[in-house]
Structures are given as structure tokens and as C-alpha cells.
């Protein structure tokens, strides 16, 4: 535009900078009001000023609500101009100001007029602007117009209507669901451009919870050849998602064929999407993975960096699942290590770390340091994960590798990178005894100069746990006490706790530890002082049980659940003592999630995973009738009570609480011509039903839960297994599958389900004891029961271990669930907590002799529990 150019020329003599880059917000808004309100409207001037407004918004300067509204109203005046440029810029301005200005809906009628007008160039942007400013109430009035626009013959208009509907569906899904007939029509039209892509996207967004509809969507469009590459990629994703959720669907073969067929598509984008989805579907076996890997291998030698990065990234993920399948690409990956793009080179290396053999480890690791200097944190984390999985794969190289990790710890890096490193070193500690000392001293060195409080406290905790078990525990004291002198309060407190651990586990160090703790008791921070004082008092009492329960023992309670229980307690009159036994136990899985149980497949966003684990809600809190049974002590996994693909599918989750079992039945009705009402499950057997929560109405294709609560007898009368026969009871109302019209009359019906068993495992929650032997001693022999069994059906020790482990549902400690090969005897150590908070420990000594002979010793805080467990095994 001439206006800008003139400005620029003036400026160029001086600063050499363009006027649009140095706009003053208030003068632009001033100018806007003056120009837009003037008569006649000068189009050139107006579009110039509109661009200035857009630039002010673009520079991110905050505009006040009042200013914005005033300017917005001035802009609306411009609808009287029919200038192409002005109108188009007005649309953009309306959208950009929609969120910062008041009363934007006043332009509704102007936009509606443009949307239905003759100017094609105006209709599409008008639709998009209109949907941005419309609220839920106004939506009704434009419904008809939106439906028309979706099937408009101009692709631009149809696309605008479809994408806008996707935006609207985010806030008003139920309205958009009424527009799907038109969307279906648009999806199957042979319209040019991206109409099909947008239509499929909208259909999926609206129907993604309806598995049947999703399946139909894929199979219908998979057959149509005339698709844009983007539509094709979207379909692959939809198919992959459906397969991932449930690969037993009837047309899974068809979907798989579709994805595999896309490997031969003409567009690289589609080929890559297909390959990546095949890799992502973890279930794929090496044979299915091979075609995907071979197209990715071809991409590795592409001249385009984007393609190379995409390929190596996906190969790297594939290597985490199936290193063997990817090792065919090792040569290509070696070449990529010298790639100009650092991201490509690093990913190639971390992939090689996963696929390479033991012999190449040292050579690769030497190259790591040359990479680390100039790559981003995400990739560094990737490399660290690869090194960590190497440590697990090749324990003999663990000390070399942990030296490399320690070297990396000394370099600069963000908290996420450092924390991945610390995690890796901690994992080495657990896995390998030879490398333990080296890894511990690396960690000690690290906290000497660590700026991240969270990491320092974590390392101190690990030192407190692992340090006392080493040959020379005294060596660690200096490192830990240094923290007390130098660090922030949180770190000092952690250091005090770590010191106490040494005091509890190493009696010879106790006098010196007490001296140090006394010094800590003079700290200026409350928490540090309190901890020190508490520990001193406990040590001075010389009461071994106090020491073990408050210092060396571990807390197994789920922290979120504890917080909730305490809050609930505070709401009561607090006249009774708080009972720790009502607090649910955290499962070892939950505890272990921070350290990442499977390093190879660890999610790239561990923070998210962690957040999910902690916000896991009590399932009973959501149902008001059941809240009184909360908290849940243990929930089983879902158990199918019907065959797949029957008329009604029902699965059951057992929630065991203090004195009841809440059976949650998730029901799905797959019959399109029936509407079920008052759905509930009758259970018959040794236990009494105390409460039923039924489903009022169950439509086809919807999953809902009904609940049946049974009361458990107290421990004395508890038998080891209860069997419950289940029947699904409901009223049927016939309905028309196409119109959804429901008949008035209904009739009762029932449907027999499979039996449910409540076994010993349902009463026991897993608990991980780091030091099983100490816990065993602590429980003492008073409630010990011992018995010997012959397990004639078992042929190997591993089989027996697996069987006992799953039968009792307890946590195997000290890695005793793995039987070393070639042994004829093995001891399995199990730990758990019985419903009601009774600790249970089981030692099962197994010997191989014509079947497996088992000597079982059970210790518990409650003799009845020991009794029950021994009985149940027999």
C-alpha cells in the first residue's frame, strides 16, 4: 500500500526502520476512531489504519476493555464500505478483537448478511468471524445457515462452515450434533480443496465416543480413492486410534489393511503417517512392523532434513519396543550420526544405543560427549533414557555407563535433563551392586553443587536409604552434613532426615549422628528444628520399635488419600482419635511412577503422568449413594462378565472398602432397537446385598455403570473365596433404530452373566518393603504360622512363583519374583497390607522335587489374617 511505503521512505533516512514496527497504541486507536467515523469513508485510508490496528494487536500490547470496545464499534461502521480490502481486514479485526471487546454480537446481522450474500470472497470469512463471536443462544438462529453453508458448492465456503463447527463443538457439542447429516454429505461429496478433510474431522470430533460410528466412518472413507493427503492422514489416525482402543473389533483387519495400504500411497506425508501409526500400535509384531521400518529406512537417506528427522524419530520410538526390528537400519543410522541437523544426529545415536550390541556400547558412549554441547534439553533427555536402558540391558557395562552419566551431570542443563540423569543413576543403584558405590559417590558429588531443590532433596532421600547399606556408611555423612550448613530450608530438612536414617541403621555411628542432630536443632527454620528434635527424642528413648516405625520404616500410605482423610477428619468433632488404618495404601506402581518403571517406553511427558497418578480419584466419591463406603481400599482391574460382541457387554470392577465390596458393573447395550431401563445386577451367593444403584436409562452404544454393594463378614468368618452368581436385570423398551422413537410399553428381561469370585487377593494391597528382612523381624514371631504344601501341578519354580504371587496379590520384595536360572530352590518374599490395615508378610520357600514343594510362613499383626492366608493356600 502506498501509505506504508511513504512512511517507510521518510523513516529510512533516519533510523532505517519501518513505521509499522513502531506504532503507538493510543495514537493508532485514536486515528481509527477519527478515520472510521468520518464521511465519506476513504477506503485506502481505512485499510491502512485497520492494518495498523492488527499490528498493534500482533505486537501483543494489552488493550483495555473500554478502549477495545470503542475501537470495535468504530470498526463496525466500515460495513458501509464495499471495498474488498477493507471488508476482508474488518473480518480479521473482528476475530482478533472478539475476546478483548464487549458486545461483539452487535455485528451478527452484518455478518449474517455477508454470509448469505453474493460475494464468494466474503461469505467464507464472514462465516468464520460469525462463529467466533456467537454465543450459545445466538447459535440457534444461525443453525439453518450453517447447515446450508456446509454443503455449499464453493469449497471455500463449505470448509469455513465445517471448521467453524469444529470450533463451536468445543463449547456446544450438542448443537453441532444436529448438523452432522450435512457434514456427512460434505464428507462424501467430491468437493475440491480440503472440504473432505474438514468434514471427516468434524464427524470424528462429534462422534468419537461412539465406537460403531467411528468404525463406519473409517470403512466408508477408506474405500473412496479421491482424498487429499491430509484427509488420508486423518483417517489413518482415526483407524489407529480405534485399533489401539480395541483391536478385537470386527473390521480390525480392514482397518489394518487400510493403514498398511497407505504405505504405498504417492504422498510421503501419508506414507509417513501410516508407518508411524504402525509403530505406535504397540501390539504389532515384528512381521507387521517390518514394512513400516523399511519405508522409514528409505526416508533416512532423503535429501530433506524434515523427512530424515521424522524417520529417525519414529525409528527411535520403534527401537524402544522392538530393537531387533530396527537393527536392520543400523547402517543408515550410523550415517545419520554425522548429519548436519543436530537433532537428526542425536536421535540417530540414541536409537543406535537401543539397537546396538554390547560390543558397540563403549564406542557409542565415547561419542556422546561430542554431541551433548549443542543440543536441546529434550534430546539430551532422550539420550539419557537410552543410556539408562543400556545399563539395564548390559549390567556389565553399568559402571562405565554410570561414569558417563556422572560426566553429563557436571554439564549445564535444565531441571528436566538433570532429573532424568538423577533418575538414571538411581536406577543403576537398584539394579547393580557393583556400580552402586560409584553411582552413590557421583550423586554425592552432584548435590555438592546442585541448584535444584527438588533434585537435592531426592538425592538426599536416596542417600539416606542406600548409604547405610554400603560398606563404609561414614563416608556419606560429610556430604550430607555439608547440605545442612549450606542449603535452603527444604534441603536442610531432607538432610536431617537422611542423617537420622544413618543413625537408625548404623548403631556405631549413632553417637556422632546425635551430635550433628543437636546442632541441627539450633537451625533457624521450624521444619528443620522440628525434625531434628523429633529424631533426637526418638533416638534417646532407645525404643527399637519407635525407631523402626518413625525413622527406618517406610510410609505406604497414599499421600493424596491421607490428605483427604485428614480433611474429612477435621470436619468431624475430632472426639475420636484419627485412625491411620482407614487411609488407603499407595500401590507400589503409584510410588514407582516418579522413577519411571519402564525406561524404554517412558512417556516423554513424565510430569503429566505424575499429575495423573496423583489426581486419581476415589471412584465412589462420584456416586452420591456410595460415598458413605469410601475410601476404597483396593480396586481390581476390569473383569469381563460376557463374551465380547454379545447383545449386552458387562464388565466388573471390585472395589473393596473397609467392610464392604462395591461391585461396579459397566454395561453397554449394543442393540440399536432397544432402550434399557432400570438396569441392575443381581448377585446371589454367600454375601448379602446391602445396596443397589441402578442405571435409569441405557441407550445403544453408551457405557454406564450400575453398582451392587455386598457386605463382608468380619475376619473371623471370612472364608478364603466367595463365589457370586450374577444376573443382569432390566426393562426393555423397543425403539426404532433410525428415528430413535421409543415405544410406550416395556417388559422385564434378564441376562445371565459369568460368576464373580472374591478371593484373598482382593483383600490385600501390595506394599513394597525395601528391607523385607527388617520388616519380618519387626513383626516378630507371635502371629507366625507355618505350613508345607506340595504343588504337584507345577513343573518349574518360575511358574510356581508367578502363581503364588498372583494368588495372594501381594508385592514381591527384593526382586524375589525372578528365579535365577538353573536353581532348584528359591525363596519368594511377599509383603502386603490386609483390609483394615494389618501388615502381612509371607515367606515362601520353594524347592523343586517331583513337582514343587512349598514351605509357607506367614507373619501378620493379626493372628486371624495369618490363619486365613495359610488356609486359603491349602
Amino acid at each position: 500500500m502506498h501509505g506504508f511505503r511513504r512512511d517507510k521512505k521518510e523513516e529510512e533516512d533516519g533510523s532505517g526502520s519501518h513505521s509499522l514496527l513502531h506504532l503507538d497504541k493510543s495514537s493508532v486507536l485514536q486515528e481509527a476512531r477519527a478515520t472510521f467515523n468520518g464521511t465519506p469513508v476513504v477506503a485506502r485510508k481505512c485499510s491502512h489504519v485497520l492494518t495498523k490496528i492488527l499490528m498493534v494487536l500482533n505486537q501483543g500490547e494489552a488493550i483495555g476493555k473500554e478502549e477495545a470496545t470503542e475501537t470495535f464499534f468504530a470498526i463496525t461502521k466500515l460495513f458501509q464500505s464495499r471495498d474488498q480490502a477493507v471488508r476482508r481486514l474488518v473480518y480479521v479485526c473482528i476475530k482478533d478483537m472478539a475476546s478483548i471487546s464487549n458486545d461483539v454480537i452487535i455485528v451478527t446481522s452484518s455478518l449474517t448478511k455477508d454470509m448469505t450474500g453474493k460475494e464468494d470472497e466474503w461469505r467464507a470469512p464472514a462465516i468464520r468471524a460469525l462463529c467466533r463471536i456467537t454465543d450459545a443462544q445466538m447459535l440457534q438462529s444461525i443453525e439453518r445457515l450453517m447447515k446450508q453453508a456446509m454443503v455449499d458448492k464453493t469449497p471455500q465456503v463449505a470448509s469455513a462452515a465445517l471448521t467453524s463447527s469444529v470450533h463451536v463443538a468445543r463449547t456446544n457439542p450438542e448443537v453441532v450434533r444436529r448438523w452432522l447429516n450435512e457434514a456427512t454429505e460434505a464428507a462424501s461429496s467430491s468437493g475440491e480443496g480440503l472440504v473432505q478433510y474438514h468434514a471427516i474431522g468434524l464427524l470424528y470430533t462429534a462422534r468419537k465416543h461412539d465406537k460403531l460410528a467411528v468404525r463406519k466412518l473409517v470403512s466408508k472413507h477408506a474405500r473412496i480413492a479421491n482424498r487429499s493427503s491430509l484427509a488420508c492422514c486423518l483417517l489413518i489416525r482415526i483407524a489407529a486410534k480405534a485399533l489401539e482402543e480395541d483391536d478385537s473389533v470386527p473390521n480390525s483387519g480392514e482397518m489394518m489393511d487400510f493403514i498398511e495400504g497407505c504405505l504405498r500411497h504417492k504422498s510421503e506425508m501419508v506414507i509417513y503417517e501410516a508407518a508411524r501409526s504402525l509403530v505406535g500400535l504397540n501390539a504389532t509384531n515384528p512381521k507387521e512392523l517390518a514394512p513400516a521400518v523399511s519405508v522409514l529406512q528409505l526416508f533416512c537417506s532423503s535429501p530433506k532434513p524434515t523427512l530424515r528427522l521424522a524417520a529417525v524419530r519414529t525409528l527411535s520410538a520403534a527401537a524402544a519396543i522392538q530393537p531387533a526390528a530396527v537393527s536392520a537400519c543400523n547402517l543408515d543410522l550410523e550415517n545419520l550420526m554425522s548429519d548436519g541437523n543436530r537433532s537428526v544426529a542425536t536421535l540417530a545415536m540414541s536409537t543406535l544405543l537401543k539397537t546396538g550390541g554390547e560390543s558397540s556400547v563403549e564406542r557409542l558412549v565415547k561419542q556422546i560427549s561430542s554431541f551433548m554441547a549443542d543440543i536441546g534439553d529434550e534430546l539430551k533427555v532422550e539420550v539419557v533414557r537410552a543410556v539408562r536402558s543400556l545399563c539395564e540391558k548390559f549390567p556389565r557395562k553399568a559402571s562405565t555407563l554410570s561414569a558417563t552419566l556422572a560426566q553429563m551431570l557436571r554439564d549445564e542443563g535444565g531441571v528436566e535433563y538433570k532429573s532424568a540423569l538423577v533418575d538414571a543413576l538411581i536406577a543403576v543403584l537398584h539394579d547393580d551392586n557393583d556400580a552402586r558405590n560409584a553411582a552413590l559417590s557421583h550423586l554425592c558429588e552432584f548435590i555438592e553443587d546442585c541448584e535444584h531443590t527438588s533434585l537435592a532433596t531426592r538425592v538426599l532421600h536416596v542417600l539416606g536409604r542406600e548409604g547405610p547399606k554400603t560398606a563404609r556408611p561414614a563416608a556419606f555423612i560429610r556430604y550430607i552434613y555439608n547440605r545442612v550448613i549450606l542449603e535452603a530450608a527444604a534441603v536442610r530438612a531432607a538432610a536431617v532426615t537422611a542423617l537420622a536414617q544413618f543413625g537408625a541403621h548404623c548403631p556405631q555411628l549413632l553417637p556422632s549422628i546425635l551430635v550433628l542432630l543437636r546442632r541441627c536443632a539450633l537451625d533457624q527454620d521450624d521444619e528443620v528444628r522440628d525434625r531434628a528434635t523429633l529424631y533426637i527424642a526418638i533416638f534417646q528413648s532407645e525404643d527399637q520399635s519407635l525407631i523402626s516405625s518413625f525413622i527406618s520404616g517406610e510410609m505406604h500410605y497414599s499421600v493424596t488419600a491421607l490428605e483427604k482423610s485428614l480433611k474429612n477428619y477435621l470436619k468431624t468433632s475430632c472426639s475420636e482419635e484419627f485412625d491411620m488404618k482407614t487411609v488407603p495404601i499407595a500401590t507400589p506402581l503409584e510410588q514407582g511412577i516418579t522413577s519411571g518403571s519402564a525406561p524404554g517406553s517412558a512417556p516423554i511427558e513424565p510430569v503429566v503422568a505424575r499429575a495423573k497418578a496423583t489426581v486419581k480419584e476415589d471412584p465412589l466419591e462420584k456416586v452420591p449413594q456410595l460415598a458413605k463406603y469410601s475410601p476404597v481400599f483396593k480396586s481390581s482391574g476390569p473383569l469381563a462378565l460376557t463374551e465380547a460382541l454379545t447383545e449386552y457387554t458387562v464388565s466388573c470392577v471390585k472395589h473393596v472398602t473397609g467392610s464392604h465390596v462395591v461391585l461396579q458393573f459397566t454395561c453397554e447395550n449394543t442393540l440399536t432397537d432397544q432402550l434399557l431401563e432400570d438396569v441392575w445386577v443381581q448377585v446371589e451367593g454367600d454375601l448379602e446385598i446391602v445396596e443397589i444403584v441402578n442405571i435409569d436409562e441405557l441407550k445403544c452404544g453408551v457405557q454406564q455403570s450400575c453398582y451392587t454393594v455386598v457386605e463382608l463378614p468380619d475376619v473371623d468368618n471370612l472364608s478364603s473365596t466367595f463365589t457370586l452368581a450374577c444376573t443382569l436385570k432390566f426393562k426393555v423398551r423397543d425403539c426404532d433404530p433410525t428415528t430413535g422413537e421409543v415405544d410406550d410399553g416395556s417388559y422385564d428381561d434378564d441376562y445371565v452373566l459369568e460368576d464373580i469370585e472374591i478371593t484373598v487377593a482382593d483383600h490385600i494391597q501390595k506394599v513394597l518393603k525395601a528391607d523385607w528382612a527388617a520388616a519380618w523381624e519387626e513383626l516378630g514371631p507371635q502371629n507366625e504360622l507355618e505350613d508345607t504344601f506340595a504343588l504337584s501341578a507345577m513343573n518349574t519354580l518360575q511358574e510356581a512363583v508367578k502363581q503364588i504371587h498372583s494368588f495372594l496379590g501381594m508385592q514381591a520384595c527384593e526382586r524375589s519374583d525372578n528365579v535365577p536360572e538353573g536353581r532348584s530352590a528359591h525363596t519368594l518374599l511377599l509383603a502386603g497390607v490386609f483390609r483394615g490395615g494389618h501388615a502381612v508378610l509371607v515367606r515362601s520357600r520353594l524347592a523343586l522335587s517331583n513337582g514343587v514343594t512349598m514351605n509357607l510362613s506367614v507373619r501378620s499383626t493379626d493372628p486371624r489374617v495369618s490363619n486365613l492366608i495359610t488356609q486359603s493356600v491349602g
Binding site: M1, H2, F4, H18, L20, L21, V42, A43, R44, S47, H48, L50, T51, L54, N58, Q59, G60, E61, S81, D83, A85, R88, L89, V92, P125, Q156, A160, T163, H167, H198, T205, S228, L230, C233, L234, R237, I238, K241, M269, Y272, E273, R276, S277, G280, P305, T306, L307, L309, A310, R313, T314, S316, A317, N341, S343, V344, G376, E378, P603, I604
Partner: protein, 183 residues
């Protein structure tokens, strides 16, 4: 890295054009990855530092995949999630660049870009709507977004046209009359 993405049309997290000092020419964020302008600017600085010297066309920063392209004194960026199909992002970048290239008649440089900022705003608006790819054909986009710099205002234009029309018909009338008179 999760390879299976939620099937959705929301593909693009941001489109950014920077100059050769890393200053923002125009930037559109379609996701609240960086809620404040300050964070956005800081991130753009980091991005620029990471990319302006390297000759490659793709990078990973803060769990985001960024494809980019530099020309003379401008840098074009398209940003997507780290699990997004890199080639789709690349195709969006190509559409963006080609549209701008066609609009500016191959003079893809800062001063030309600024002179045609109104059309550039429209191009961005036509390529991507709140994160959804709206159009991927650069010729269609360029033809839709080329605004002819009409120097005549609406008022003047109509008056002038009306006057022209009147004058013409006046002469026509005279000519006709003269013809008539001749007979």
C-alpha cells in the same frame, strides 16, 4: 514419545515470521502454549538463536516441533506439537512461503513484507483458522489475498463513475441526435 495422536483437526500451534534480528514481524499463536506476550517473545528469541545460523529446516525446542525457512532478512516458522506429523507442518510452511512469495512477486524481504502487511495478515488468516489448516493451495490463497491498492475512495469512486457514465451518455445522446438531424 507417543506416536498415536488424538485424531483432530487442530494441527498448528503457531505461525511466526521474524526478521534477521529475531524481531517479530507477525506472530499468531493458536494454542495457549505461551499465555503471555512476554513468554512468547522470550521463546521467539530462543527459537531465533537456535535456528538463524543452522542451515537445516526443522528443529525441536521445548517439546515442540518447528519447521522453518529463512530468506534474505526474514524467517518463517510453523510450530506444532512434538507428536505432530512433521511433513504436515512442512507442507503448511511451504504453503505459507509460496503464498508470500507469489504475493510479493518473489521479493521476499522485510521491506516488501511490511509494505504488504495487510495482505500478509489475510494470508495467515486463510492458511490457518485457530490451529486448523484451512487451505493448502498457495495459488488459491495468493489470489484471494492480493488486495489491489485502489487509490480512489469509495465516495470519490462512485461519484466519478456516475459522472463518467453521465458524460458518456450525454455525448451518445448528442451523437444520436446529430444523426437524427442528419436524416
Amino acid at each position: 514419545m507417543s506416536l498415536l495422536r488424538e485424531p483432530t483437526l487442530y494441527t498448528i500451534k503457531a505461525i511466526i515470521i521474524l526478521d534477521n534480528d529475531g524481531n517479530r514481524m507477525i506472530a499468531k499463536y493458536f494454542d495457549d502454549i505461551f499465555p503471555t506476550t512476554k513468554e512468547q517473545r522470550q521463546w521467539e528469541k530462543n527459537l531465533f538463536n537456535k535456528t538463524h545460523r543452522a542451515s537445516s529446516e526443522i528443529t525441536i525446542l521445548d517439546n515442540l516441533t518447528i519447521v522453518y525457512r529463512g530468506n534474505v532478512d526474514l524467517f518463517f516458522y510453523v510450530v506444532g506439537s512434538s507428536s505432530e506429523n512433521e511433513l504436515i507442518l512442512q507442507s503448511v510452511l511451504t504453503t505459507l512461503y509460496d503464498s508470500v512469495n507469489s504475493l510479493l512477486k518473489k521479493n521476499v524481504e522485510k521491506s516488501c513484507l511490511l509494505d504488504n502487511m495487510d495482505s500478509i495478515c489475510l494470508i495467515l488468516d486463510e492458511i490457518c483458522d485457530q490451529g486448523i489448516i484451512l487451505e493448502n493451495d498457495y495459488q488459491t490463497i495468493a489470489s484471494r489475498c492480493a488486495l489491489k491498492g485502489d487509490d480512489i475512495s469509495l465516495g470519490e469512486q462512485t461519484v466519478a463513475q456516475v459522472r463518467d457514465y453521465k458524460t458518456l451518455s450525454y455525448y451518445y445522446f448528442i451523437a444520436k441526435t446529430e444523426e437524427l438531424y442528419e436524416f
